[in-house]
Amino acid sequence: MDVLNKVPVREQEPAVRAANFEEVCLGYNEEEAMTEAARCLNCKNAQCVKGCPVAIDIPGFVSQVKEGKFEEAYQTISASSALPAVCGRVCPQETQCEGKCIRGIKGDPVSIGKLERFTADWAREHGIKPKAAEQTNGHKVAVIGSGPAGLTCAGDLAKMGYEVTIFEALHEPGGVLVYGIPEFRLPKQAVVAAEVENVKALGVKIETNVVIGKSVTIDELMEKEGFEAVFIGSGAGLPKFMGIPGEQAMGVFSANEYLTRNNLMKAFLEGYDTPIKTGSKVIVVGGGNVAMDAARTAKRLGAEVHIVYRRSEEELPARVEEVHHAKEEGIIFDLLQNPKELLVDENGCVCGARVIKMELGEPDESGRRRPVEVPGSEYEIEADTVIMSLGTSPNPLISSTTKGLETNRWKCIVADEENGATSKEGVYAGGDAVTGAATVILAMGAGKAAAKGIDEYLSAK
């Protein structure tokens, strides 16, 4: 075996998987995992750990995998992460742990993500649970939202002995892991539900169908229901649209709606009531991970799918692996193009888009080269479905109903990066509600920091 090359991971064939919702990546088996783990240099000053937002002891668990001590490896990971089976699948490892791996300077970095996934899956298949606190300390903490930030914060607090209740607005816990990320990237029953069960096994209670700010406010939770601290991990909010003509036509969806119908409401499965418009030619506008998820979902529902993105391939915000998978599955990338108008037929249904070509100009404030229109390059393309994947703006339900909670000019909640503290005493926040749309692992990092912040606050009280 060549130590410079990683052990390749088995995947479903592109032509097969483009027509099903089964998981794309099949993961390592025991032998493959041990072989891959043996490539780790076990650096003393491990850079990979610095690249991990929740600072997992990566050399520690990798060397346990190498020796075949999978249960110990799982306990090492779960000391730092509440959702290893999720992170092993959806973290952008190439810019985090694996991006800093010394092995990667010459050759492939160690496949840390795939090893994490293997370890978590092995533990689940062997019925191994994370270790719960021996007794509770009697302090009640409320966590709003059961997405990655909320589950992490709740899990960490429960391990310290707090009595934690998570309030979830939707009917199923998991947040974006359930409504946003599709089945073929993150299996809902086998992986997400199992991780949620692990958090519950730590003693965390989850109450679904409670919309904080509507069913009950944060002030009421603290004054009437005895919660001494609150963590807000309510996620991102309302979808953004382009503000171009034709966007209100039938057949135009936000990526959030399209994915929620398919993932949370399981519209793709026979027997579920929620409808989804499959479309025969679909345009997805945007270039992030959510755009890739929407495009690959539409492909599996049987459509020809085009991603329309105004910058070039280099600037695509999506993970490299997602772009690679999308291309393999036959998604067509119309790069350096931008819709000017959506075309609407006499019945009010979208029937296409008028698109203009773009070129890259000088760098803008984000450091990326600004796309500028090429005059006179407009043309029309046909489509019966258009999915807008342009990000979200914060949901106002909590900030508008909580006294003394400061928000910034983008309406995101203002919170201390170190400990999640907000302008309101006892109230902490993290994840997309604070940063705007970001990644699962950054939200987990914020949930972890806030758990520490809440513990320090309540211990000092």
Binding site: H171, S215, G237
Partner: protein
């Protein structure tokens, strides 16, 4: 689970249910809505809150069957339970937030069409309980489709009942009744219209001419109902608004009804197919020319 403690047929295809949901009943106000989900495979269905009992912890909902999901909903019996029942969602009625003495100076009229009578009722009741007068025009296609007439009579200052076919009360639609009252010299300065979109559109056309400030309650397609999916977007005063968090009440003179009505049709074919499948079961094999 959220048990159904009472179920009653109000008219053909229209059912009332009281559902035990203490968290919703604790803080809900007139004008807000809930989302119900029957079971694992069910849709999330938005329904306006028609009444509430804080002590009993119950919410009253009224459903008219329009498709397969609502057919399934009304087939539930007393003692059955919804798997999910979430709320209150949306904003409380504008009137609730106003000063009572200011409200008493207003001449308020409600115009309710069909099943829209149900969400009008808690608002009228709330005003009545706070000593504020208001008139109500409530209508249906025919006498047998009228709902909550006695309840409404008990709380409205003047109640005008209309039927499209003249089988009961005033012969004509709600707008014709409003025009008739106006012609007799009755004056209003605030109107709340709730009913089918086409009715609200025509009420707004008339009240704009008459110069009556008008609030409508929009009920577009929704999925999550908490401000995430954007399915319920509509154009109000040239701006995109989300009915689930910005509404569901809006200034009727600013709503783009034509666009909203088109968006309502988005899943019509799918709903129609699903309904036929439910009604005809295994005997439904297409052939109608509409099924794929």
């Amino acid at each position: 689970m959220y048990p159904i403690v009472k179920r009653e047929k109000l008219a053909d295809k229209i059912w009332l249910m009281d559902v035990k949901a203490p968290r919703v009943a604790q803080y809900c106000e007139p004008g807000q809505f809930v989302i119900v989900k029957i079971d694992e495979v069910g849709e999330r269905i938005p329904l306006t809150i028609c009444d509430y009992d804080r002590e009993a912890g119950t919410i009253t909902i009224v459903t008219q069957t329009v498709g397969a999901s609502t057919e399934r909903l009304v087939a539930l019996k007393e003692g059955d339970a919804f798997q999910d029942f979430v709320g209150p969602l949306g904003c409380a009625s504008d009137l609730i937030g106003e000063d009572i003495e200011e409200l008493k100076k207003k001449k308020i009229v409600f115009i309710a069409g069909g099943v829209g009578t149900a969400p009008v009722y808690p608002q009228v009741k709330w005003l009545h309980d706070h000593g504020v007068d208001c008139d109500v025009i409530m209508g249906a296609r025919s006498k047998d489709l009228l709902i909550l007439e006695e309840e409404m009579r008990a709380v409205a200052t003047n109640l005008y009942v209309t039927t499209d076919d003249g089988s009961y009360g005033f012969h004509g639609v709600g707008t014709a009744q409003l025009q008739a009252l106006w012609d007799q010299g009755v004056r209003y300065d605030h109107c709340v219209a709730i009913g089918p979109m086409i009715m609200m559109k025509f009420v707004c056309k008339l009240t704009k001419e008459l110069g009556i400030h008008t609030i409508v309650s929009m009920n577009p397609i929704m999925v999550d109902g908490t401000g995430m999916c954007g399915a319920c977007r509509l154009v109000v005063g040239g701006e995109v608004k989300f009915a689930c968090v910005d509404g569901s009440e809006f200034d009727g003179h600013l709503v783009d009804f034509d666009q909203a009505m088109k968006r309502q049709l988005q899943y019509k074919t799918e709903e129609g197919r699903a309904m036929l499948k439910l009604q005809e079961g295994d005997t439904h094999h297409g052939g109608c020319g509409h099924c794929g």
